[in-house]
Amino acid sequence: MTDAPMKLTVVGVETPKWRKQLTSVVSHALLIGASILMLYPLLWMLAASFRPENEIFTSASLIPSSWSIDAYFRGWNGLRTSFSVFFTNSFIISILSVIGNVFACSLAAFAFSRLEFRGRKIWFALMLMTLMLPYQVTLIPQYVLFRQLGWVDTFLPLVVPKFLAADAFFIFLMVQFFRGIPKELDEAAMMDGAGPWRIYWKIMLPLSTPVLATAAIFTFIWTWDDFFGPLIYLNKMSDYTVMLGLRTFTDSTGTSDYGGLFAMSVLSLVPIFLFFLIFQRLLIEGIATTGMKR
């Protein structure tokens, strides 16, 4: 599978029509085959959400012996607090995180990729270092810090770091993309008397739609999927996120509602999938650099 695309791109410039069609058919066949393989587990999960509880772990088939949407109702109100609360919380946290991350990280990335200042390389190296330390060992000191700030039991520990560009991944990602934007553009703008802020705001950001969209997608999905932060910092069930709610569904030591777990797992994918669908358009539309003189 891995070398297939290479072969497909070999097709010469003057391709006869039948060959183009053949390539297209082969490509689609490959992609469809791969899709099914990729998606079997998800389809299984979908099926599990509709089948009787005691059949879930004994059947590998994708077709339940009997269908029921009961698990969805059971799951939605299965915990003391309804999932509508969890979804709302997850939305608030994820949306705020997207705004914070895209803004703060692009500022930092602009500085690292376009501005000259002393100590830049050291700061950049330190920033990368924050990416390398396993979070398990900073968890407790960080908890103490947030507790002293009085932030435990609020969304602040989950959201504020995003506005402070705490995730070096996104800074690094944007740096790599900003460096791909032709320098002639900023130089031309400088000639016209533009300062750094205007260059950032009027040139870099508009030209960086693909990477900003990428950052937005990842932030939303990863924040949505994160459970360790919410687990540690949120104590009241009315503050829980969807992922935390989902984890509360199963307890390895006792009775668990697996049908409800799978039903809610399926539903939990819907918002992030929709977010992905909407924002991926920006990945395509962002062909801003097309036709640009290099």
Binding site: E53, N54, E55, F57, T58, G78, L79, R80, L139, I140, P141, Y143, V144, R147, Q148, L149, G150, W151, V152, D153, T154, F227, L231, I232, N235, K236, M237, R247, T248, F249, T250, D251, S252, T253, G254, T255, S256, D257, Y258
Partner: protein, 428 residues
Amino acid sequence: MTFPLSRRQFLLSSTAALAAGALGTLPSFAQAANLRLIFWGGQARADRTYGVVDLFTAENPDISIDGEFLGWADYWPKVATQTAGGNQPDIIQMDYRYIGEYARRGSLAPLDAFVGKDLDLSAFDEDQLRNGTIDGKLIGVSLGVAAGATVFNTKVLADAGVEIDPMRWTYDDLLNLGPKVSESTGGAMAMAPDGSGIELLFENWLRQKGKALYADGQPAFAPEDVTEWFELWTELRNAKAIISPDEQAIDTGQLETAPLVRSKSAMNFTTSNQLVAYQTLVPDPLGIAIFPATSPDSKGGHYRNSSQYFALSSTSASPEAAIKFINFFVNTPEAATILGVERGVPASSAMRDAVTPTLDERSQMVVKYIADLGEIAGDVPPTPPASAGEIEVALKTKSQEVAFGAQSPADAGPAFYDQVIQTLGRSS
């Protein structure tokens, strides 16, 4: 220096949280208290627990209780973080393994001063009190009696023509009857899982031989015992009385990975309070039996464990209110009826009598099993030493090495023993 925060500092720094309503109201009356309660479990347990909480707060309007529950795997890192961060809930559900770790480090308050006053344990079974006592101090109030038990699929055994005497069956039975299950299911199932890595089962076997896991913080068994143990299971494995190492290794401790649930074996070695949970995942009716005996009249292997405890945080601002709740939880018939035997059979004989008539068939079986065990069971062992949890993990890994053929039982015995000595030495 456990991130010391004075209470004053804590109050100052939590004003923001207060504004967000996180901590509710500060105690303004002498009696009023806001308690935090944390436990692990699923929604079924939470429903019962909150039922009792509601009952309690209705009777005690000046006390409010914020409950929180999590799955087992998430529970411990959170409790550890909260404890280290100086933000421990007032009432903490504890497990027999962790209660020693927390108590010996001073995170849990001794309850002796409350006993006989706000905490009435007069109807409690003696062994349940002893289970909750660490280094001479009462730390945990048992929430249920549980004991090692074999949970089995009655239909699969019947279909194979296998019959066991639930209170007297033996390892020989397993060896002799086991192959029948394998035959009748065309090799799809075995009679039992591979129990060589289950510490509770190993301990049971040792106790039947008159030995124990630990005594005075040292192993109370010899390397040869470990070898003999692994040889026993190798023989069972070769006879196809138990499942293959491949299948056994899928069991990672979660209920849904158990061979019994996955229709790979006709039984599972677990604790009695798990019967009801297993039944929800297995379509055929389940039965309950003792761990296999070394001979039909062997005694003393089992003991009446406590499935879990409530313990009081040593930093609790309202210990009296917390004790009042714990006392209500374990001593009120209404509470007992709501709780059922979901956490195990009540430790108080009065509550047992109150709850038994209200139970369904499967729960009745559990109560009867615990009662019948009375004649077979021995004394409860002392609280395990620190690092016992690590040794439990090591036994599982070692059992896999033997099962997959990476090490012979003869080598594995001394190797495991050395590991135990080293681990115990490291913790002190």
